[in-house]
Symmetry: C2
Subunit: 231 residues, 2 copies
């Protein structure tokens, strides 16, 4: 249980597993299998029987659900340290969404058995896992609320942009954003068509709410953008 020097000689990826104490992170590390995936790799698909959980060590993973008519709704992007498929692994039910890498990524996989064993052995791990699921749950509640209770598409887009700004400290200061998503994907995040996203961006530019230089988006008038929310 004590962390000795030999254990610490491992690569320092283990620091990225939640905020777990090193000794416990090490236990997870030993049970997990870490793999590198290319862009577009599908870690698991909606309705597929559950095998275990995935932990993002590097890269970005898109989590989405899809309707039978082919339409897609992106639930969220999962980044460094995020877990995928936890709820399914705990409840034993099929995955409720599809996970697909957005860029070359390094992902640790932990089988359900090992997860449950670790949770049973280390109370801290159990608590940490439960907190992950709880976070996912609150996030999804916010999501459903924002999507359903704001029927104007511009409001949803404004929410998305402001949310992106607040996601990291420097964006909040400078108002600069790196656009990593296509208009189509943005549409899938806010539940509108690609064309509507195009038109909304055009409108925002016309009102001088935003500017665009290549792949960089500049929020020039954040307050006006926020005033669109709950208009």
């Amino acid at each position: 249980m004590a962390t000795n020097v030999v254990d610490r000689l491992h690569k320092d990826l283990d620091k990225t597993i939640g905020n777990l104490p090193p000794a416990i992170a090490e236990a997870v590390e030993q049970a997990a299998l870490t793999t590198t995936y290319p862009t577009g790799a599908v870690l698991f698909a909606e309705a597929q029987i559950q095998r275990g959980v995935f932990i993002v060590r590097r890269g970005r993973v898109k989590l989405s659900v899809c309707g039978s008519d082919g339409k897609t709704l992106i639930l969220r992007m999962v980044e460094l340290g995020g877990m995928l498929g936890v709820a399914s692994a705990i409840s034993g039910r099929p995955y409720e969404a599809t996970a697909e890498t957005q860029e070359p990524s390094e992902i640790s996989f932990l089988r359900q058995n090992d997860l449950l064993r670790l949770m049973r052995q280390h109370g801290e791990i159990a608590l940490w896992v439960t907190q992950q699921v709880s976070r996912d749950y609150s996030w999804t509640c916010r999501e459903i609320r924002d999507l359903m209770l704001s029927d104007s598409a511009s409001e949803k887009l404004a929410r998305l942009l402001v949310g992106w700004l607040d996601n990291n400290a420097e964006s909040r200061q400078t108002g600069h954003l790196k656009m990593a998503l296509t208009h189509e994907e943005i549409g899938q995040m806010i539940g509108t068509s690609r064309e509507t996203v195009s038109r909304l961006f055009a409108g925002f530019k016309k009102q001088n709410l935003i500017q665009q230089n290549g792949a960089t988006l500049v929020i020039s008038n954040r307050v006006a953008l926020e005033s669109l929310i709950t208009a």
Copy 2:
């Protein structure tokens, strides 16, 4: 840890706490405070700081979120044995929804501290709680998917009705449903206006998909109703 006769002399409410072993259910029972609420009582409100979790022992509780413009979206109805506010108690964040009794109900309350202590003491409780959150999460994912990826309102209503049918065995046989919700509330469940719900019901009746006798709804043509889903 063993269940002795004295423990079992308690009222048999404890059987309703999940599928926990009696001894453990008893531990929960001792830490919890059970109260009777009238219809319309608010157990907790959205964005309120979290205090603990609620367990439904009798009655029905409406869980909803609301937008700033006053519009409401009902997430789900929680019945016997269901827990409320678990994710918030675990993560320590404010409640993400509002819980309001729909009928006179008996509710057990468990403070956050006691919940966490019990989870730490009994691995089974920790696992059970985690499973609850996981269930809530999958449910919410299904919800968001069904609501967003089916833009016709009739499809959403059809989904709701079929879901109600499958909720209990006899409804599935007879096709009979007791309507416990107003059209307005149904609208809040599927994200449409009250008027649209009225018109949809009228349409369904005209097509002989359903009939209505007072508060009893009869699904006369379930297959046709299902064919509206993913049309």
